[in-house]
């Protein structure tokens, strides 16, 4: 088992290195970070542009720039933005904001997906199944920005009117100049979290519940379930102890893989609710062609994707003893 994990980790190192080369080439060829400076009226003297190029290291050949960047990166130095702000604390701060939005939503989505998927499978071809199936397909086909905007423009306003005061907020992760007691702040955070959480949870729920339904159906068709029923175990015991336990294994890995992508995946939802998280940072990096922001962003998310893929593999091997650690 341990050797399996180590072997898997060893494979991921060249993968991450290759990804870093790919990311670097991609960013180096995307947009000119000095476009803003060059296009300025009245024109900026060429010496200034040259000095800036030198500062960003743009005057050196590509392999040298890559080496400079990667050696700094592995030591934890992600460089500075074009405006001279350190990237690492910036990225860290943005990631915390995104995490706040994503963690609760994912948990809710997992619970909902398991419940709906299992119920759908157990009551296959009944009204319950059709309802959940239709809901799953509907949210699978709904653009997250549309659902989020719908809740923002219609749901939030109605709800606030109903309560007679502002209970759900539609902009940002917290009220500006937030102060006061702990309870007061907590209520404020919660009020800001409601809508993004529901939007994200419903969208993730859709795919996962379909998946859970399919695996549960597979398990229910297996011979050992028939055996368990035949030897006289109660239906509920068979469902929970025999079927559900095994039907959860594939979902665990799917969720683990998706979690890696989720750090960058809330780009759209952040945009709708004006959260300054990872997504906003990416958009900012793209719009200003800021190489260090883009490099750090892409590297961190690809490392997370690789890491969670690894976790998924290991979890799968741990949970399913039939898997050979080949």
């Amino acid at each position: 088992m341990i050797s399996f994990i180590i072997r898997r980790m060893v494979i991921t190192i060249p993968l991450v290195l290759l990804a870093s080369v790919l990311v670097f080439i991609l960013v180096a060829n995307s947009g000119d970070p000095l476009a803003d400076l060059r296009g300025r009226q009245p024109p900026v003297p060429p010496q200034v542009i040259q000095a800036r190029e030198k500062m960003l290291g743009l005057d050196k050949p590509l392999p040298q720039r890559y080496w400079h960047w990667i050696t700094n990166f592995v030591q934890g130095d992600m460089g500075k933005t074009i405006r001279g702000v350190e990237v690492r604390p910036l990225l860290w701060q943005r990631m915390q904001i995104t995490l706040r939005m994503v963690v609760l939503a994912s948990i809710i989505a997992i619970v909902l997906a398991i419940g709906a998927g299992v119920l759908s499978a157990v009551k296959q071809y009944t009204v319950t199944d059709y309802t959940f199936t239709f809901a799953g397909f509907l949210f699978l086909s709904m653009p997250v920005f549309w659902l989020a905007a719908l809740m923002k423009e219609y749901g939030a306003i109605r709800l606030n009117k109903l309560f007679g005061k502002q209970v759900v907020f539609t902009v940002g992760p917290e009220s500006p100049n937030l102060a006061g007691s702990f309870g007061h702040r907590l209520a404020d955070y919660a009020g800001h979290l409601v809508l993004p959480t529901i939007a994200l949870a419903l969208i993730s729920f859709a795919a996962w519940s379909r998946y859970q339904r399919a695996t549960m159906l597979d398990v229910l068709g297996a011979d050992y379930i028939r055996l368990a029923r035949a030897k006289g175990l109660s239906r509920s015991r068979v469902m929970v102890r025999h079927a559900l336990r095994n039907a959860l294994i594939p979902l665990v890995t799917v969720v683990a893989i998706d979690t890696g992508a989720v750090f960058g995946g809330a780009v759209i939802t952040e945009r709708v609710f004006a959260w300054q998280g990872m997504g906003a940072l990416l958009v900012q990096g793209v719009e200003t062609s800021d190489p260090n922001i883009l490099l750090a962003w892409l590297m961190v998310t690809s490392v997370l994707v690789v890491l969670f893929n690894l976790i998924a593999d290991v979890l799968y091997a741990v949970l399913d003893p039939r898997i050979r650690y080949g």
């Binding site: 991609l26 995307s30 699978l140 653009p143 549309w146 998310t301 994707v305």
Partner: protein, 330 residues
């Protein structure tokens, strides 16, 4: 996953029906034999694999209905704009007017006819999605086929390459690339190309899995013994057996591509003004969601209709290609 060979037990309904048919035909033939002399006593209509899949698909009412709606939307979006009385760029004197007979989906604040704009937007979205499905499926199937058939180092190299592509979040790569070539960035062809570059990985994995098991089958050994080349075995013997899962995944790719393209356009990195797309229309309509709700609702509903029907078609196809998957034995 989807095995195109029909498992013996699963086709019980069809077999029963077939026998019924044969019996009556038999009876009919006997009467006729007296009058005319035929060289065969009775005929058996053997259904091909395609016919069986088609029959099962047609029995799936939701999927067939979805296919009809989807085709209507596709045709309307691809050529409907030409027949509608307004062009998407036309500015009419009525601005911010709610849906009426003259403007079935209203107009925006400048006076654009919303229906013309939605048709244009849907056209771009559908073009992107179909292109992505075509390119990603072809490329993914090719990579998966090579990896699954040759195994060993070819497999390792191709699959590590697939992993590498998977590490880059789709939206990030799109954002970076779309900003890169700003002259072509708003171009649907470019966006489709970039999306296809990322979407092939899933199909490659599925096809590889199928090829890994199919290549061990006896009919492959027989083909090889007869002197068939690798290419012939791959394309004439293995690929047809993987068609089911390839087609199903291609439909899923269409739905994913539609949603990705609209999301990208929504954040301003996809199709750009003066051209338009459904995501862009939702993005501008959102500001007016409470005052001019039609600007927000119609493009959103169009996206959902396209994605939903495609998903239902995919589900119907999955059932049609693999009747065992949805049947519970217990």
């Amino acid at each position: 996953m989807a095995d195109t060979r029909v498992p013996p037990g699963a086709d019980a309904d069809d077999a029963g029906e077939g026998q019924e048919l044969r019996r009556t035909e038999h009876g009919a033939q006997i009467h006729e034999v007296a009058a005319t002399t035929t060289d065969r006593e009775f005929t058996i209509a053997a259904r091909t694999q395609t016919q069986m899949v088609l029959r099962r698909f047609l029995a799936h009412k939701l999927a067939v209905g979805s296919l009809v709606v989807f085709l209507i939307v596709v045709v309307a979006s691809l050529i409907g704009g030409r027949f509608w009385r307004y062009d998407y760029a036309d500015i009419t004197p009525e601005f911010s007017s709610p849906p009426s007979l003259k403007h079935p989906m209203g107009t925006d604040s400048i006076g654009h006819d919303s229906m013309a704009q939605i048709l244009r937007g849907a056209q771009k979205s559908v073009q992107v999605a179909l292109m992505v499905a075509l390119l990603a499926t072809t490329f993914g199937a090719l990579i998966g086929a090579l990896a699954g058939y040759y195994r060993s180092w070819t497999d390792s190299a191709l699959m590590r390459f697939t992993d590498l592509v998977l590490t880059i979040p789709a939206i990030a790569l799109l954002a970076v690339l779309a900003a890169n070539v700003s002259e072509t960035a708003g171009n649907w062809f470019f966006i489709g190309l970039v999306l296809a570059l990322l979407q092939w990985t899933y199909i490659a994995r599925v096809v590889r899995g199928q090829f890994l098991s199919l290549r061990e089958k006896e009919f492959v050994e027989a083909a090889r013994a007869l002197g068939a080349s690798d290419a012939r075995i791959m394309f004439r013997h293995l690929l047809p057996n993987a068609t089911g899962s390839i087609i199903v995944n291609a439909t899923i790719t269409v739905a994913v591509a539609i949603l990705l393209e609209t999301a990208l356009s929504y954040i301003g990195l996809g199709i750009r003004p003066p051209d338009t797309s459904l995501g862009l229309l939702v993005s501008t309509g959102q500001q007016a969601a409470t005052t001019r709700p039609w600007l927000f609702w119609f493009p959103g509903i169009f996206i959902i209709i396209i994605a939903l029907t495609v998903n239902f078609i995919g589900d119907g196809l999955r059932d049609a290609f693999d009747p065992t998957q949805t049947r519970v034995r217990a």
